[in-house]
Assembly symmetry: C2
Homo-oligomer: 347 residues x 2
């Protein structure tokens, strides 16, 4: 796939370069600049020589890998390193890794001196199609996902498929979660997925879908950068139940929980007559391409407690769900906590 350029006309503009050669473009962009590359121990183990070759002048700081380290402690490790390196406001923070690295290094860049320059080089499919684009940064805190964070646009995002080759199968599935979610929001992407079920593990095809998903997300983010008009909420389809499960169990990855969340919520959409049974079955069939085994919800009462902490909610006793409605359409449903709990018990 030829390299594609996708521009986000956000308050502070952002440009995504997507395709083979993106890493070289990043190296060119950062040449001669003062930069701190923030990565994690996994990426560093796999790619240290490549990073050193492409960014010979940059300092590299590797934080411990994994979602459980997306916390205050690691955020301040990054900030400490920025201070030690005497970074200035005109210096670059380069987040080179998956969503966890991108979220934390992005937040550190947003906070240090009230904002240094930020570049994202996502290395997982999930980060390429979703988290590196759109400026959401965050850490988890006190058991609540992403509750401390900022909207902060990277000036450039470089998505290079070369990193996908070393991804474990599970990480690919994780990215598929967000790709399928986008397919439920956008009819053209949904059709493309439905017509190419057999190619969902072909990296070339995934790279093409990734560019489609980024373009869709860019369009949404431009119109509602800080999730205030309501439009950006659509990107959270499956996330209310998915996040609650993630907090409750925490053994699988974010993308897997989004898949499971969408699956479970498709039954709520059906029962609440947001969508037809036929469409709900199509949705579940699409999800099963990536995630054939869906567990039942382990503890409804606890699950509701976590779901109530979700940022999309507006009251303190209602849960907001983004549900599939029809091909390329969605609806927000505000459900009283007790009713949501009953659904979770049955599922």
């Amino acid at each position: 796939m030829k390299m594609q350029t996708i521009r986000l006309h956000t308050k502070s503009p952002s440009t995504v370069l997507c395709g083979a050669g993106a890493l070289d473009a990043a190296a060119e962009y950062l040449k001669g600049k003062d930069a701190l590359i923030v990565t994690d121990t996994n990426v560093d183990r796999l790619y240290a020589p490549l990073i050193a070759e492409k960014f010979p002048a940059a300092q590299v700081f590797a934080v411990p890998a994994g979602e459980r380290n997306k916390n205050k402690k690691t955020l301040f490790l990054i900030l400490d390193e920025m201070l030690r390196s005497h970074l200035h406001r005109s210096s670059f923070v380069v987040a080179l890794g998956g969503g966890v690295v991108g979220d934390m290094a992005g937040l550190a860049a947003a906070l240090y001196m009230r904002g240094t320059r930020l570049v994202q080089i996502p290395t997982t499919l999930l980060a390429q199609v979703d988290s590196s684009v759109g400026g959401k940064t965050a850490i988890d805190y006190n058991g609540v996902k992403n509750v401390i964070g900022a909207f902060y646009q990277p000036e450039r995002v470089f998505c290079d498929p070369l990193f996908l080759k070393t991804l474990p199968r599970r990480e690919i599935k994780c990215g598929l979660g967000e790709i399928i979610k986008t397919g439920l929001l956008d009819a053209a992407i949904g059709d493309k997925i439905a017509q190419n079920r057999g190619r969902m593990h072909d990296l070339g095809f995934l790279q093409e879908l990734a560019a489609d998903c980024i373009r869709f997300k860019a369009h949404v983010v431009e119109q509602d950068e800080t999730e205030s008009s309501g439009l950006r909420k659509c990107l959270n389809m499956g996330h209310t139940t998915g996040h609650a499960l993630e907090l409750l169990c925490g053994r699988r990855s974010h993308g897997e929980y989004v898949l499971i969340g969408m699956w479970l919520e498709s039954y709520i959409a059906e029962e609440e007559e947001i969508c037809s049974r036929e469409y709900a079955e199509q949705v579940r069939s699409l999800i099963s391409v990536a995630e054939p085994k869906i567990p039942s919800f382990p503890n409804a009462r606890e699950g509701v407690k976590y779901a109530l902490l979700d940022k999309k909610n507006e009251g303190k006793s209602n849960v907001s769900l983004i549900l599939p409605k029809a091909r390329g359409e969605y609806a927000e449903l505000i459900l009283p906590a007790e009713k949501y709990e009953k659904y979770l018990e049955r599922l």
Copy 2:
């Protein structure tokens, strides 16, 4: 003075209400809203009954008073309280206090769920004329002032003179520091101060000057909200040397160090021929209205170290100074660290 309304046409707009009755306007604005009032132990001791009367439904959280508590620990105390109170994105954080409370509660509001609604009710002259307006929020960290923070506009700022009556003389002086700084940047304000030297401790006159200063600052912030074009830098006149002194000694208040910083830097402006000797003497005469006793710089080498950490600098071995040039005019001077150190030694 009649209540004045000053609007900031920033990316996220902000409105300042200034004058007697502003607190009642705040009570009206927040009526029926979900709000957490963040204040400090000093303000709480003096005003708890008034706060309870004006905001009967709001929760109040008092953090330990003082600049030395403007740190990570207190920031997370506020965030913990926000989580405990189940605040949502549509809830209000109300920063009721001086600059320290405003900076920390403002940053907590910026970070919690990537941004809750924010109202500032500044209770000191310094916070009314300067820190509550313009959206700068921050904490000090690892010995560097305001190094972790965000640009985050309060949707409303309510400046009520009633709080000024209980201010110690020193706190008034502290506000005078920023007022005199504004007088060096804006000719009309400068003339007003020069013609009313005898009224600089008259609260009615100060309230009038406060509104002038806010209007000036609003105009600057609108044009350069995130201090990226360079214009907003002008507000940091005196701050490079002032901050360095504050970090080095830390016994006086921020405003006093700004006054001392402007005094010391006026000599640099004179030596570097940025301004005439005559004008530098006028500047010092104006400063002496608020601060008659100026100490010499205690430790030039250490001072340079702190000055080099300043956010205005762009390189790692230069110091940026905003210096008075002529009536209502200023200039930025980039000085090599060694040269700046020599000046500090002599002063």
